[in-house]
């Protein structure tokens, strides 16, 4: 959820308030610069990408959903601008594994196209994302409030890093059964929520897996 202060800032910027825009730049430029420079290692080029990010934000402001967290939105724009810059430099990961224009990698990866080829509609995909974000976000907040950090770590390693149960258990020095139990409970709750929203849980690979896999 966006903070009240970010909401106010956005409202003021929408009115064309220069001081509010200055405040937004002051608040976010440093973290965006660090995020971009981590990949570019060129301070001047990174500053250009951050500049493009801010301009991109202003251009996309009419479509900005105020329920989205501003920082996450800015990082998303910065990621796209960074990818564009890396591709221009021939340093994007996908580009760097094959420079052959006929290579399948180059044919497949282009985030500016592909809309017509999507099997499911963007609208449906957005609904699925919102359902997961809502339910999982709530679960994570509950774990944090209860200081249940071991469960949070388990699920983060399983779903963000894609580690196997046994590797998670070994790393966190707990039993594989405990890892499997945490996974089972999370899969069950998320699947129920997604289905309750009238959506299919089967589109998510994590929710298709049998516990223990």
């Amino acid at each position: 959820m966006p903070s009240d202060s970010d909401r106010l800032l956005i409202a003021q910027i929408r009115q064309g308030d220069g001081r509010a825009w200055e405040s937004l730049i002051e608040r976010y430029e440093g973290r965006l610069l660090a995020f971009v420079d981590r990949r570019l290692h060129d301070r001047a080029a990174s500053e250009d990408v951050v500049q493009e990010t801010f301009i991109g934000f202003l251009n996309s402001l009419p479509n900005f959903d105020e329920n989205r967290e501003l920082q996450t939105y800015l990082f998303t724009i910065a990621s796209h601008k960074l990818t564009d810059q890396l591709r221009r430099l021939g340093r994007h990961p996908i580009k760097s594994i094959s420079d052959s224009p006929s290579d399948l990698l180059n044919q497949q990866y282009d985030h500016h196209k592909g809309v017509s080829s999507m099997a499911r509609s963007q609208e449906r995909r957005d609904l699925e994302s919102v359902a997961i974000e809502h339910c999982l976000g709530q679960m994570i907040r509950q774990w944090q409030e209860k200081s249940d950090y071991i469960r949070l770590k388990v699920m983060e390693l399983l779903w963000i890093k894609g580690w196997a149960n046994r590797d998670v258990a070994k790393f966190l020095k707990i039993s594989e059964q405990q890892v499997a139990n945490f996974r089972f409970a999370a899969v069950k709750k998320l699947s129920e929520h997604v289905r309750g929203a009238g959506l299919s849980a089967e589109v998510f690979p994590e929710l298709q897996q049998a516990p223990g896999e």
Partner: protein
């Protein structure tokens, strides 16, 4: 540890830490199977498939707040929260939190440089803001 599907997904988004990016690139250069897996993942993304892990990562559902990261720098957090943030930044390698942390640390060291940058950003974008008023 081998490269996972989730790492590849984050790799396509340029969301891995520097170290992990280098590891994935090295693995991709030496493994046909991994390159095939990457192609397959890109096709899935093109079809509109997604995953719980990718939504979690992109929406930053477990990221500490900026205030918590500030307190982390000052080392005034409860031990268990501090330990979790260390895990999130180092083991998970969250690029967004790493950036926030780097910013908090450099803000104290180079206040003047930050001010100059901010002025440049403002001057280069103010025209777009003015256009919004019309």
């Amino acid at each position: 540890m081998s490269v996972t599907r989730e790492q590849l997904d984050a790799y396509i988004d340029d969301a891995l830490s520097e170290t992990e990016t280098a590891q994935v690139e090295q693995a991709l250069r030496s493994s046909d199977a991994l390159r095939r897996q990457l192609r397959s993942l890109m096709q899935e993304r093109d079809r509109g498939d997604h995953s719980v892990g990718a939504i979690w990562r992109r929406r930053r559902l477990s990221c500490p707040t900026r205030e918590q990261l500030g307190n982390f720098v000052l080392q005034v957090l409860d031990a268990e929260v501090e330990e979790y943030i260390t895990f999130h930044i180092r083991t998970i390698g969250c690029a967004f939190c790493q950036a926030n942390l780097a910013d908090l640390q450099t803000r104290q060291q180079e206040p003047k440089k930050s001010q100059e940058r901010r002025r440049r950003y403002f001057e280069s974008s103010a025209g777009y803001l003015a256009a919004r008023r019309k």
